[in-house]
C-alpha cells in the first residue's frame, strides 16, 4: 500500500481544492498528516458536507404539526398516532450502482435501513426510485437487471418488504443510472435515540462487521465526482453487502435500545468511522479518542487512515456508560454480533486517533464538521437546450395506436416484472401492495388486526409513495419539481392518506456549472413552494451531485418520498375499477398538455422550455376532496392521471380491476377549447384523478371539486369517445401491450 506524503497535491488527488487544503492547515495550525488529510478529504467532500447545497436547502420548510425530528438526524421522524412515530429517509447510491449495480444497489438499501434503525425505528418498508438509459441497450439492461436483483437480495433477505417504487428509462441516464432507496421505520414514541455522543468517560463501541479495505474513498472518489471512462478501476471503491450480518445488527441494536443500554447510536455509512465519530462528537459537543488498533479487521495490515475511512458495511457505532458495557456485549453475543470497545468520549473537543498508544491523528471536531467551506452557487439559465430530442418512435397519430404504444412504453408499462422480485408482504402489514393502489398502505399494528376486525374497530395505517419525473423537471425545474411533489401527494390521497412529511433526494449534475446550479436552485424553490402549499415539512434528505458522464448531465431528478396517515386501513383506496355500473369520473383542475408528455417523447419532440402554469392550491383542494371521499369509503377506485395522460390512467384502472369501461371525454371542456382528442386523451399535468363509484359519491365530490363525469364501468373492453374520434380496445390487448417489460426479464 502506497503511503503518500501528504501535501496540497495529494489533497487535490483526494478531491479537495488547494484553497480547502490551506484552510485545513489554518484550522490545525500545521500541515495535516496522512490520517488527518484522509479524514478531512472525506468529511469535506460534497457527499458528506453538502458544501454546494447547504445554503440552498436552508430555504426549505422544516416545521409541521406532526414533526418529531427534522433534518440533521439519521432520518426524519413524524408522529403517526397510536403512540408510534415514523422515521423515513431516501438516499442515493448512484455512482456505486453505475460501477457495480448489484452490490451498489444492495448496499444502498443496507445503508438506508441502517439510517432508520440508527434512530431506534424498526424498518417496515423499502421503496426505490430508479433511472436507466434505453432498455434496448445492453448496458441499461445489465444495470436494470442487476440493480433490481441487488435491491431484492438485501431487502428480501433482511425481512423488510419492498412495497413501492418507480423506474424510468431515458437516454441521459445511460451512463449515470440512478438508484435511490427509501426506508420507512416505526418506533414507539418514547423509543427514539439520537446520535449525539455525550458523557465524557462513556465508552465507544463498534458493532457489527469487521473492517476491510472495501469502499475506501467511496464518498470522495465515487460520490463526489463525475463518472469517467476508467470507472471499472473504481470497483474496489464499491462495498459488498451482507444482509445476514445486518439482520443480526438490526435485531441486536433494537434490543440494546429497548433495554435502555445506549446513550447514542449512529450508523457507519459514507466515510465510515471518520464520519460517524465526527458527527456524534459534533452533535454532543464532546471529543472522542478512537483506538484504531482495537478495530476488528478483515485483513491484518490495514493502515490507521484506511481503518478510519473504510466503508465496510453493516457496522454501527454506539456510546454506552461504562457500567453497561458488559450488558451490551452480552446482548451482542446472543445475536452473534461482534461488539468491540474502541474508544471513549472525552471533553477535549478533539477527535484523536490512536494506534498502539501513539496519537496518529488529532483534529478539532469543529474543524472537521463545521469549518468546511460552503459555496454559493452561480446559477444561470442556459441559452440553449441542454438535452437532445429523444428519437422518434411513434409515427401514427391514431388514438388507438397511441394508447397501445404508450401502454407498451418502458416508462408506462406494468412494473410487475420488477416488483415481483421483491417481498412485499413480510411483517404482515401490507394492506395495499404495488399496483393495487397508487400508494402502498401498511398497518401500524398488525398484532391488533384480528381483534380490531372482529370488533369492527378502525385500523390506523400509514401510506408511502416515492415519485419524480426527471424529464418534466428538465423542461421546467421549478414547475416540474412542484409536479413531482403534487404527484406524490396525489398518490397518498388516492390511498386515503394525508401527508405528514417529505424526504427528498436531489439528483443533479455538476453544481459548479451554472446551468446545473440553475436547475438545482429552481428545483429547490419549487420543492419549498410545493411543501408550503401542502403544509408538509421536509424532514430530511440527501443530495447527489456530479451525476454526469461524458455525454452530459442527467435530467435533473429531485426524488420525493412521502409518508401519510390513514385513520382506517379498511377504507384504503384501490386503483382498479371494481363494480359493474359504477360511474367513472375525472376529478380535479386537470389541464392536459402534450408538451413534455410521454406521447411527445415517443413522437421525438424536443423538450419544451417551461411547463404550463399551474394552480397549486386548486390541486391541493382537489386532493383533499379525493382523500376524504376515499376515507369515507365512498369510492370504489381512485387513480391519479400521470404518464400517458387520461387514456392511460383509464386503461390502468381497467387492467388493475380486470373489468372494462365505456367513457366519453369532452375534449373541448378539458382542454379549454383546444378541441383535439390527442391532447385530452394523452396530455399530462397535475391535478387529475380518475375515480369510480356510485352516483351519490360523485355528487358529493362535485360539491367540493370539478368533476367531469365520463361514463361507466363494465364490459371487457375500454371504449373511449373523444372529440369526434373513438377507440375500443379489449382487455387482453391492453394487457398484452402493458406487459412489455416482461421481455426484459425472460
Amino acid at each position: 500500500m502506497r503511503s503518500p506524503v501528504p501535501d496540497a497535491a495529494r489533497a487535490v488527488e483526494l478531491g479537495l481544492t488547494q484553497a480547502e487544503y490551506h484552510r485545513i492547515v489554518d484550522a490545525l495550525g500545521r500541515e495535516p498528516n496522512e490520517v488527518e488529510l484522509a479524514c478531512f478529504s472525506l468529511l469535506w467532500s460534497e457527499h458528506c458536507s453538502y458544501k454546494h447545497s447547504k445554503r440552498l436547502l436552508r430555504s426549505l420548510p422544516t416545521e409541521g404539526p406532526a414533526l418529531v425530528m427534522g433534518p440533521g438526524e439519521n432520518a426524519g421522524v413524524v408522529d403517526v398516532g397510536e403512540s408510534l412515530v415514523c422515521a423515513f429517509k431516501v438516499e442515493s447510491h448512484n455512482h456505486p450502482s453505475a460501477v457495480e449495480p448489484f452490490q451498489g444497489a444492495a448496499t444502498g438499501v443496507g445503508g438506508i435501513l441502517r439510517d432508520v434503525f440508527a434512530v431506534g425505528a424498526r424498518p417496515v418498508a423499502v421503496l426505490d426510485s430508479l433511472r436507466f438509459g434505453d432498455p434496448r441497450s445492453e448496458r441499461s439492461r445489465y444495470l436494470l437487471d442487476q440493480a433490481v436483483a441487488g435491491i431484492g437480495h438485501y431487502g428480501n433477505s433482511i425481512g423488510v418488504p419492498t412495497i413501492g417504487g418507480e423506474v424510468y428509462f431515458e437516454a441521459p441516464y445511460e451512463q449515470n443510472c440512478l438508484v435511490n432507496a427509501m426506508c420507512v421505520g416505526l418506533a414507539p414514541a418514547d423509543g427514539l435515540i439520537r446520535s449525539a455522543a455525550a458523557g465524557p468517560g462513556n465508552v465507544l463501541i463498534l458493532l457489527g462487521a469487521s473492517t476491510g479495505r472495501d469502499g475506501i474513498g467511496g464518498a470522495s472518489v465515487l460520490a463526489s465526482a463525475e463518472l469517467g471512462e476508467d470507472d471499472a478501476a473504481k470497483r474496489p471503491s464499491v462495498q459488498i453487502g451482507d444482509p445476514f450480518e445486518e439482520k443480526k445488527l438490526l435485531e441486536c441494536s433494537l434490543e440494546l435500545l429497548d433495554r435502555g443500554l445506549l446513550v447514542a447510536l449512529q450508523d457507519l455509512g459514507a466515510a465510515g468511522l471518520t464520519s460517524a465519530a465526527a458527527e456524534m462528537a459534533s452533535k454532543g459537543g464532546v471529543g472522542l479518542d478512537i483506538h484504531v488498533d482495537r478495530v476488528p479487521l478483515r485483513e491484518p495490515d490495514l493502515l490507521p487512515f484506511e481503518i478510519m475511512v473504510s466503508e465496510s458495511q453493516e457496522r454501527m457505532l454506539c456510546v454506552a456508560a461504562p457500567e453497561d458495557v458488559d450488558d451490551v456485549l452480552s446482548v451482542c453475543g446472543r445475536w452473534e454480533t461482534r461488539a468491540t470497545v474502541i474508544g471513549e468520549v472525552t471533553s477535549s473537543g478533539h477527535m484523536r486517533v490512536l494506534c498502539d498508544g501513539a496519537v496518529v491523528g488529532d483534529m478539532p471536531v469543529a474543524a472537521l464538521v463545521d469549518d468546511c467551506p460552503l459555496y454559493d452557487l452561480a446559477p444561470r439559465e442556459p441559452d440553449l437546450a441542454l438535452y437532445p430530442a429523444p428519437p422518434r418512435r411513434l409515427h401514427d397519430e391514431d388514438p388507438r395506436a397511441a394508447l397501445l404504444a404508450l401502454l407498451a412504453s418502458e416508462n408506462v408499462a406494468s412494473r410487475a416484472p420488477l416488483f415481483e422480485q421483491y417481498d412485499c408482504v413480510v411483517q404482515s402489514r401490507t394492506v395495499r401492495r404495488p399496483a393495487q393502489s397508487d400508494a402502498a398502505v401498511l398497518l401500524l399494528a398488525p398484532e391488533r388486526a384480528a381483534e380490531a376486525l372482529s370488533a369492527g374497530a378502525p385500523l390506523p395505517a400509514i401510506a408511502a409513495s416515492i415519485d419524480a419525473n426527471g424529464r418534466r423537471v428538465a423542461c421546467d425545474p421549478y414547475r416540474g419539481t412542484i409536479e413531482a411533489v403534487l404527484e406524490c401527494a396525489a398518490n397518498l390521497a388516492c390511498a386515503g392518506a394525508e401527508p405528514l412529511g417529505l424526504t427528498n433526494c436531489l439528483n443533479f449534475g455538476n453544481p459548479e456549472k451554472p446551468h446545473i446550479a440553475w436547475q438545482l436552485t429552481e428545483s429547490v424553490r419549487g420543492l419549498g413552494d410545493a411543501c408550503r402549499a401542502l403544509g408538509v415539512p421536509v424532514v430530511g434528505g440527501n443530495v447527489s451531485l456530479y451525476n454526469e458522464g461524458g455525454e452530459g448531465p442527467i435530467y435533473p431528478t429531485p426524488v420525493v418520498g412521502m409518508v401519510g396517515r390513514l385513520p382506517d386501513a379498511r377504507f384504503a383506496g384501490r386503483l382498479g375499477f371494481a363494480d359493474e355500473d359504477d360511474l367513472v369520473a375525472l376529478v380535479g383542475p386537470f389541464r392536459p398538455d402534450l408538451h413534455g408528455s410521454e406521447l411527445a417523447r415517443l413522437g421525438g419532440a424536443e423538450l419544451p422550455r417551461g411547463l404550463p402554469e399551474l394552480d397549486v392550491s386548486a390541486v391541493v383542494d382537489a386532493l383533499d376532496a379525493v382523500r376524504d371521499s376515499v376515507r369515507a369509503g365512498d369510492l370504489s377506485s381512485a387513480h391519479d392521471v400521470s404518464d400517458g395522460g387520461l387514456a392511460v390512467a383509464l386503461a390502468e384502472c381497467c387492467l388493475a380491476g380486470g373489468i372494462g369501461a365505456s367513457v366519453v371525454v369532452d375534449a373541448a371542456a378539458l382542454t379549454g377549447g383546444h378541441d383535439k382528442a390527442l391532447v385530452a386523451l394523452f396530455g399530462e399535468g397535475p391535478g387529475g384523478v380518475v375515480v369510480s363509484g356510485p352516483p351519490g359519491a360523485l355528487d358529493r365530490l362535485a360539491e367540493r371539486v370539478t368533476v367531469h363525469r365520463l361514463g361507466a364501468v363494465g364490459g371487457t373492453s375500454l371504449q373511449i369517445e373523444a372529440g369526434g374520434s373513438g377507440l375500443s380496445v379489449g382487455l387482453s390487448e391492453l394487457a398484452e401491450a402493458y406487459n412489455a417489460l416482461g421481455a426484459l426479464f425472460p
Partner: protein
C-alpha cells in the same frame, strides 16, 4: 394449544408465523439455541434466510441445536409445519423427502398464487376438500421442488403430495407442480407458499388460516 415458532438468526417470517398461529391458539418463539421445545404442542419452522442462506438454503440451520429437538418431536408424531425456508430446512434435515432447487427463472418471485389441495386427509388440510383452491403468496428464490422419479412415485402413492400449484400457477418450475409435501407419517408438512401471509382478507387473503386452524383442531381432538 401452544405453537412454537423457531427463530434462527436470519429468520424473517417468524413474527408473521407467531401472529398467524396466535389467531387459533397461543404462540411463542423458540430460540435456535434451545435444546428442548419448552413443551409446545406444535412447531412452525418459519420463512426467511436462516444464517443468510449463503451456502445452500437451509443447509446451516439444520445443524442448529433446536433442530435436534424438532427432529425428535417429529419422530414422536408431533406436528411440524415448515414454511418456505422452513420447508428447505426440513428437507435438509431429512424430515421431508426431496429438495428445493433454484427457481426455473433464477429470480426471486413474490406473487399471489392459487394452491390446490391434493390430499385433505392430513392434520394440516383436514378442514379442506380435495380440489379446494387456496389463494396464498409465494416469495422465494429456491422453491423448485425436486425428488427423483422413484421417490416421486412413492410420494404420489402414499398421498404425501398435499398441495399443488393450480394449473398455470407454478411460479418456480416445481416438479409435478408440487407446492407442499408431508412426511410419510403425515405429521410434518413443508410448503413453499406462505399460509401465515394469508390469514386476513385485509392483507390479501384468509385462505392460509385453514392450515393453522386444522393443526389446532387436530391437537384438540388428540
Amino acid at each position: 394449544m401452544r405453537f412454537g415458532v423457531v427463530r434462527f438468526p436470519g429468520s424473517c417470517d417468524d413474527i408473521d408465523a407467531l401472529l398467524a398461529a396466535s389467531r387459533v391458539g397461543e404462540a411463542e418463539p423458540l430460540w435456535h439455541a434451545y435444546r428442548d421445545l419448552h413443551g409446545v404442542d406444535a412447531v412452525v419452522v418459519p420463512g426467511g434466510f436462516s444464517y443468510g442462506d449463503y451456502l445452500r438454503a437451509g443447509a446451516v440451520a439444520r445443524f442448529a441445536p433446536v433442530m435436534e429437538a424438532v427432529a425428535d418431536f417429529a419422530r414422536d408424531g408431533g406436528l411440524v409445519l415448515g414454511i418456505c425456508n422452513g420447508f428447505q430446512v426440513l428437507c435438509e434435515a431429512g424430515l421431508l423427502p426431496g429438495a428445493l432447487l433454484p427457481n426455473a427463472g433464477l429470480r426471486f418471485v413474490c406473487r399471489q398464487v392459487q394452491v390446490e389441495v391434493v390430499n385433505a386427509d392430513t392434520p394440516f388440510t383436514r378442514a379442506c376438500t380435495v380440489g379446494d383452491r387456496l389463494s396464498i403468496p409465494v416469495k422465494h428464490t429456491t422453491g423448485r421442488y425436486y425428488a427423483p422419479a422413484d421417490v416421486l412415485a412413492e410420494l404420489r402413492e402414499r398421498g404425501q403430495i398435499a398441495l399443488r400449484y393450480a394449473p398455470g400457477e407454478n411460479p418456480n418450475g416445481a416438479l409435478d407442480d408440487i407446492a407442499g409435501v408431508t412426511s410419510e407419517a403425515g405429521n410434518v408438512l413443508g410448503l413453499m407458499p406462505h399460509p401465515e401471509h394469508a390469514v386476513d382478507p385485509l392483507t390479501g387473503s384468509a385462505d392460509g388460516l385453514v392450515l393453522f386452524a386444522a393443526m389446532a383442531g387436530a391437537l384438540a381432538r388428540a
